[in-house]
Point group: C2
Chain length 121, copies 2
DNA sequence: AATAAATGCAATTAAATGGTTGCATCTGAC
DNA sequence: GTCAGATGCAACCATTTAATTGCATTTATT
């Protein structure tokens, strides 16, 4: 996921690199099935693959792959319990992503404010 | 982008369909170059393709494609001005996405709270 | 020990993505 | 009217992604 293909800026500002870091997280969130899985895990705690699969219409292996995508993005974690593996939500990265959106939104708000001042004042 | 491949739930709850709707937005955000473009547009107002391209190391056409992905997700809009097209940020969908993350986070918080109550009494 | 449940692993496939090059079109300026 | 600047459009290519099927492995249970 996101093999650091061809990044933009030459020497990205520190402000932007925070944003940049959450690109993989957004990519992981950018799929209905994964959003569904995440919603389930947020609500319930630790759930097995079999249980998660029963909530979808795809195969167990497909669900497994989605779980690994989410895990690579740091959004979930799986721990073995007996013969099954329980998957649970890990809040850190989602918080990070939320902050990133705030940053963009704030930047926008400031731009609007500057515009307002320039016009009115 | 997101050809509604194989969606999860049979009759998704209204609560989840709000989340589901922002999957395409997250997908659009899940790329460094697009995050960069978005950051620029948030800061600056209306910018031409040529100007945007100069901030990256990819071709103008690649930037154009990214802009269309962002536009399809409703995050930006382009308006023709003379012989150039100015692209600008549109805040609505980003707000929507932010709310989605809040919903997930709140669900998680409530789950923790229930757990706390169950343990502490 | 034998069996069934729950996963893990690998190969395969169709479609989507990110990028490119080349050429056409539209528009402002001289 | 010609010419350069800024896009638009289309074909093409390599990689990644989402899903599948089939088989191997691990682990409760009886």
């Amino acid at each position: 996921m996101s093999q650091r293909r061809n990044s933009p800026g030459k020497q990205a500002s520190p402000k932007f690199s925070a944003l940049r870091n959450s690109a993989p997280v957004f990519a992981a969130l950018g799929d209905e099935t994964r959003l569904f899985i995440l919603a389930v895990l947020c609500a319930g705690g630790a759930v097995s693959i079999a249980q998660l699969t029963s909530g979808t219409e795809i195969t167990r292996q497909a669900v497994t792959k989605h779980l690994h995508v989410l895990a690579d993005a740091g959004l979930v974690r799986g721990i073995k319990v007996g013969r099954e593996r329980r998957w649970e939500f890990v809040p850190t990265q989602l918080e990070e992503a939320r902050r990133s959106l705030e940053v963009i939104a704030q930047q926008w708000d400031r731009a609007l404010e500057r515009l307002r001042v320039a016009v009115e004042g």
